[in-house]
Amino acid sequence: MISSTIGIWNYWIVFLLMMIGLFLVIGRKNFLKKIVGLAIFQTSVFLLYITFGKIKGGTPPILNNAIDTVYSNPLPHVLILTAIVVGVATTALGLSLVLRINSEYGSIEEDEISAQDLVDYHDQIETSKKIDTKFIE
């Protein structure tokens, strides 16, 4: 029982990281911290895949002539290379959005921003009642 619990400790770490990441994304109100959480969440998935690819006593999958060589599965590593690229793109886009939000709103706290948005929204509804359509071609 204990050995099997410890034997899958990689998975424990994966799900611990996953939950930490997900908690940061959902629980934090700071836009920057959400992105940190997202990065941790994605990294945990990378670890999950890498764990699948590992075979006990497996060597790197480079063909040699010995008959009884056990190779590790290279496919998860390749998939994760792709996923890392996607993750970097997501983080970069997220950070640049946070930068723009900060310059437009002067804050990256969700509460302050949604309060500003609510005021803006009601302003729009109010001002739209005063029509001043001009001649447009």
């Binding site: 994304v25 998860p76 996923a83 803006d120 929204y121």
Partner: protein, 497 residues
């Protein structure tokens, strides 16, 4: 020559917009970049028509990417199911590109237009790829290509309204969590089956009934896709993203983005897994069915109380997605067919409604709300005409495309012993008349507060007229949509029901 073209069509339809997006970004001239975008989306549309003909002959086209034979290599599959979303995406993509050429410069400054068109093509390419690919992990890559491009497109709305930035940010975070959940699911399935090819996967999961990793993997995949398809509790990113995106982008996203994800949902539920499996039956009847019914009402009620028109239409989209997933959840052949019919028709209806609202906001140079619509219907008769036709189509009045989808949906639910579902559908459609009537009343019956003279521009209303025409055409002669949807449902649900 034509042989090679036909043989490579499945990849060409993806590559055409993908490669062109790299070229378009380098072109500083607005006219040239919009022309190239138009050309590549048009070519993609022609390719999808050719593919449709091929599918009629060969039924399934499998394309081995880089000549690596599946299941080891990545496979692109075009069959009678995937051809429907491909036609929708390319058709709407090409119509909205015509539309955008006039509307886009109004909202986005000139220096960034070619970049926007590049993202535009990337989003379209990602969506087409999403539908074409037969590889579970390749699907994730296309999912991210399309969603990152759409996030950037939504954020371009910040030049008019800064709320677009927050909308884009939320879309990015929620979408990325969804995509990552999908990857976890794929990983778990790969861990127990050792394959990523969907066709191969469906053969191998049969032997693994009640395997806990399989159930967990399935759950992760479905939830991930549900986030992307904006199914009820995961829809919160949608209204704001659609409302604050640049108008042309709203049209493109509203008509295509969720449709591709809905197709993936159907593919995973019915094609990778088996409809006869208890796991799927329970998921459909205890998860997707209740959520769809809540979505139908929640979306409609939110729309009734909304004053901002773009948000109103986005909330209504949530309700319409509810109809589609409801059709999938009933799980009979007729209902899945009805779901696909509505996928097609809703793309036409929502595309046209967003286009009409966009033209109005183009002329009045403001966010369109219920109060500033008053009397505009008389000033812009063509736009108003299209708007009314498509509203009727959304509500499901006879002689419009929306009627056909409601008809088949209700017929399917009654034949599956779901009379109460049919009644709920009718009730929710009746509720949707309330918000549609509010808009039409404001447009036509209220007196304008000031004399308005608007000269409608043919560049803007041409594609609106085309989509409206299609709405009426597919209401009168629905055989194309209905036949291909029934064939698709036969392929998915098969003989088991």
């Amino acid at each position: 020559m034509t042989d090679i073209l036909i043989k490579n069509l499945p990849i060409l339809v993806v590559l055409c917009p993908l490669m062109m997006s790299l070229i378009v970004v380098l072109i500083p001239n607005i006219f040239l970049s919009s022309l190239l975008t138009f050309a590549s989306t048009f070519v993609a549309f022609i390719f999808s028509i050719l593919l449709y003909q091929e599918v009629q002959i060969h039924s399934t086209i499998s394309y081995a990417l880089g000549n690596w034979a599946p299941p080891i290599g990545i496979e692109y599959v075009i069959d009678k199911v995937s051809i429907i979303p491909i036609i929708i995406i390319t058709l709407i993509g090409f119509l909205t590109t015509i539309f955008s050429s006039k509307v886009m410069p109004d909202e986005i400054n000139e220096t960034s237009i070619s970049k926007v068109y590049s993202l535009w093509l990337l989003a379209i390419a990602g969506l087409i790829g999403l539908v074409t690919t037969g590889d579970a992990f390749n699907l994730f890559v296309f999912l991210e290509i399309s969603s990152l491009a759409s996030v950037a497109l939504v954020a371009m709305g910040a030049q008019k309204d800064k709320q677009a930035l927050v909308a884009a940010y939320n879309y990015l975070i929620i979408g990325a969590v969804g995509a990552t959940l999908y990857v976890i699911g794929v990983g778990l399935l790969y861990g127990i089956t050792g394959t990523l090819n969907m066709a191969d996967l469906s053969e191998r999961v049969v032997d693994l009934k009640n395997n806990k990793a399989l159930i967990a993997g399935f759950g992760f995949m479905i939830v991930g896709i549900m986030v992307k398809a904006a199914i009820f509790p995961m829809h919160i990113w949608l209204p704001k993203a659609y409302a604050y995106a640049p108008s042309a982008v709203s049209v493109l996203l509203a008509a295509t983005a969720t449709k591709a994800s809905l197709y993936i949902l159907a593919r995973i539920l019915f094609s990778v897994f088996d409809i006869a499996d208890n796991l799927i039956i329970n998921t459909l009847s205890y998860v997707i069915l209740p959520l769809s019914i809540i979505a139908m009402f929640a979306g409609t009620i939110m729309a009734i109380y909304e004053k901002d028109i773009k948000r109103l239409l986005a909330h209504s989209s949530v309700a319409q997605i509810g109809y589609i997933t409801l059709a999938f959840a009933i799980g009979t052949k007729a209902s899945v067919a009805a779901g696909f019919i509505h996928v097609f028709n809703h793309a036409l209806i929502k595309g046209a409604l967003f286009m009409a609202i966009t033209s109005i906001s183009f002329y009045i140079q403001k966010r369109v709300t219920l109060s500033n619509l008053s009397g505009l219907g008389r000033a812009m008769p063509i736009t108003f005409f299209c708007f009314v036709i498509c509203s009727l189509s959304l509500a499901g009045l006879p002689l419009t495309a929306g009627f056909i989808s409601k008809l088949y949906l209700i017929k399917a639910s009654i034949s599956a012993d779901g009379l109460w579902i049919a009644i709920l559908i009718l009730f929710s459609s009746a509720l949707s008349v309330i918000y549609l009537w509010k808009m039409i009343e404001a447009l036509w019956l209220q007196q304008p507060k000031k004399e308005i003279i608007i000269k409608e521009n043919p560049k803007i209303y041409t594609s609106l007229l085309i989509i409206t025409f299609l709405n009426i055409y597919f209401g009168l002669d629905a055989s194309f949509v209905v036949d291909s949807s029934i064939e698709a449902a036969e392929k998915l649900v098969g003989v088991s029901k």
